[in-house]
């Protein structure tokens, strides 16, 4: 591990400095939230959170805990900046994206503070690449104010049960309708596309469902184009928790196990679609 012993070049402290033996632990998670070009990074003592938003309706967060890193230090209470996620991913995968077992890209990240670029040192097989990515003023993030006390319905599912469903969603439908209920149909995903409507029903006693806590029948619609990117997070994850609150806001939390068996989380928040007409069933 070539970098951990290197002192900062100028002797100054970095606002954020982190080392990771396998950059894939970071890049695969970031890909799961990469549906917009830019992301906001927040680094605190507990780890790194990368947030992507769209249309003021949807927000995705990727959490990489400090424990995942070989070294992780944040000088102030928190460090926040906006950065091009596309460029960041391109740099993290600069040695290629194929995951040959045994080879991995080592990463060191340094950020001096406000106004400075994010510097990446990437090494694989003795070859070192240095990348400097400009950072921007962080924008205000949406606050969905979603906390566990406000949850009305909650279902925890094994991801394999949903993967095919999300991959095959009828994209000619404008919305994805989610019904959660203590009574039939319990948990239903519906689309209303050009060919007609389609409903996917999961009974509460299905062995795919690990936890079923539905108190009220709720049917909410979400713009399918906004939710479709979450398929990437679903594909990586082993479990997913689906929660809605009284306003119909949706929280999808994905539990992802990386190559070393460590757990990380990705979550998606989505507002219900207001402009809907009562569609045919």
């Amino acid at each position: 591990m070539p970098f951990s012993a290197q002192p900062p070049a100028s002797g100054e402290r970095y606002a954020l400095s982190a080392s990771l033996d396998n950059a894939r632990h970071l890049s695969s998670l970031l890909r799961a939230v990469h549906f917009q070009d830019h992301a906001t990074c927040l680094a605190t003592a507990s780890g790194l959170r990368v947030t992507v938003e769209d249309a003021k309706c949807i927000q995705a967060n990727a959490f990489i805990q400090a424990e995942i890193f070989q070294e992780f230090s944040v000088q102030e209470e928190s460090v926040m900046f906006r950065i091009s996620l596309s460029v960041l991913l391109d740099c993290l995968t600069i040695f290629g994206t194929s995951s040959v077992p045994g080879t991995s890209t080592a990463l060191r990240m340094c950020y001096r503070g406000y106004g400075y670029p994010l510097t990446l040192f990437l090494e694989e097989g003795g070859v070192v690449t240095v990348c400097k990515i400009n950072t921007q003023e962080p924008e205000e993030l949406l606050d969905f104010d979603f906390c566990s006390t406000k949850v009305v319905n909650k279902i925890i599912l094994q991801s394999e049960g949903l993967r095919e469903a999300f991959a095959e969603l009828d994209m000619t439908s404008e919305v994805l309708q989610i019904t959660m209920s203590p009574d039939k149909p319990y948990f239903r995903l519906s689309t209303f596309g050009n060919a007609g409507s389609a409903h996917l029903d999961y009974p509460r006693d299905s062995d795919l469902i690990e936890a079923f806590h539905c108190n009220q029948t709720q049917t909410n619609r979400y713009k399918i184009s906004l939710l479709k990117p979450s398929t990437k997070a679903l594909a990586l994850s082993c479990k997913v928790s689906i929660r809605t609150d009284a306003q119909g806001f949706l929280s999808l939390q994905y539990m992802i196990r990386n190559e070393d068996g460590q757990i990380c989380f990705v979550e998606y928040y989505c507002c219900p679609d207001e402009n809907i007409t009562e569609a045919e069933r």
């Binding site: 060919a195 999961y202 299905s206």
Partner: protein, 364 residues
């Protein structure tokens, strides 16, 4: 069926569920009849004494979209329920999958008239039957882009398959592939000697892959050039028919098929290598290809409302088939004549001597 048409016709009958398709130029028709025994439960519904059972058509793509991934279907789906709900205007396809998951698709359908091509295997002079594998292995030698193929009968009961080459094609730039199958490759050979037919390969390939996958022998009924060729697959619970129009020889020419250029060429005997050489030499020198070869100059049948049609012929939405501007002007197939069918579920015998009707309008 999707290789033939864009719409899937569903017709429940007392003898089973019939799924049918026709192509836009009405030169190919296929039907799959699934007997009631094929299903765990088959309820065609009740029809009054004069009323027929309800039938409908759906967009092929919509229907296929329900059964998107075959490997995952096999792994995860236990049962499929098909319900036709006329009052709700919906065709319901419900897949019962593992883990208790249910996928319900409500497809919109359109009402339609009965789709039936007129054909009669009894009236075909020639008949061949072979395992699908034999024909599949033969057809693999032709490029995927090949449009038409000619099936012919030669001396010694040999059957030939040759790619059909248009007259306009330059002889020096065309590649001709011909292969001969011995009589013993077939389960049945009852053919008129020196006969040949030319039909569209694309639609045939679709049926061939189905036949191969289901390991069923394929029977080919054919007659003179211009009369439809009928491919059938038979099983205890499934009956498949594919009817393709064939190229006919020039109307104005009094040439019988035997004066077709091809028959001037020596058919390969068992001593294949030598004969191939003389065969190729004959090909280069003969004018045969231009004289007497099936000449494609019949008009495309695109049923216009102005066409005079006998009573009882089905009406399809004409706007789908109106003018077919993209159709190549040269080679066209006679379209199959759709007439009314006397008895439901069986192909009706042609009432007129001349089954295939010429398109009466001028070429457009």
């Amino acid at each position: 069926l999707s290789r033939i048409g864009d719409e899937l016709y569903l017709e429940p009958t007392q003898s089973g569920l019939s799924l049918r398709a026709v192509n836009s130029s009405r030169s190919a028709f296929a039907s799959f009849l699934f007997a009631p025994l094929f299903f765990q439960l088959y309820e065609p519904g009740s029809a009054g004494p004069d009323a027929e059972l309800f039938r409908c058509k759906v967009h092929m793509k919509s229907f296929l979209g329900v059964f998107r991934s075959l490997p995952s279907l096999e792994k995860s789906v236990g049962k499929c329920l098909i319900l036709l709900k006329p009052r709700a205007s919906r065709l319901v396809l419900q897949l019962h999958c593992k883990h208790g998951v249910t996928k319900t698709h409500n497809l919109a359908f359109q009402e339609c008239e009965r789709l039936q091509a007129v054909f009669d295997t009894q009236r075909c002079a020639s008949c061949l039957c072979a395992p699908a594998r034999v024909l599949a292995e033969a057809v693999v030698h032709f490029p995927l882009t090949l449009a038409e193929v000619t099936l012919g009968t030669g001396p010694g009961g040999k059957i030939s398959l040759r790619n059909y080459v248009e007259d306009e094609a330059e002889p020096s730039k065309t590649m001709v592939t011909e292969l001969w199958l011995a009589e013993d490759e077939f389960q049945l050979v009852a053919v008129t000697p020196d006969s040949h037919i030319t039909f569209c390969l694309k639609e045939f390939r679709g049926l061939l892959s189905f036949a191969e996958a289901s390991n069923l022998p394929l029977t080919i009924h054919f007659d003179e050039p211009g009369r439809p060729v009928i491919f059938t697959l038979d099983d205890t619970v499934l009956e498949v028919h594919l009817v393709l129009a064939t190229l006919s020889d020039l109307e104005s020419s009094s040439h019988s098929p035997s004066t077709n250029g091809a028959s001037h060429l020596p058919a390969p005997s068992d001593d294949f290598a030598d004969d191939l050489e003389s065969y190729m030499a004959a090909m280069e020198t003969s004018e045969g290809c231009s004289e007497g070869a099936p000449s494609p100059n019949f008009s495309l049948r695109t049923p216009q409302p102005a066409d005079s049609k006998p009573e009882g012929e089905e009406e399809e939405e004409e706007e789908e088939e109106g003018a077919v501007p993209g159709t190549p002007p040269h080679k066209k197939f006679r379209s199959l004549f759709f007439g009314s069918v006397m008895t439901p579920g069986r192909p009706g015998p042609a009432t007129a001597q001349e089954v295939l009707a010429e398109d009466s309008d001028g070429e457009g």
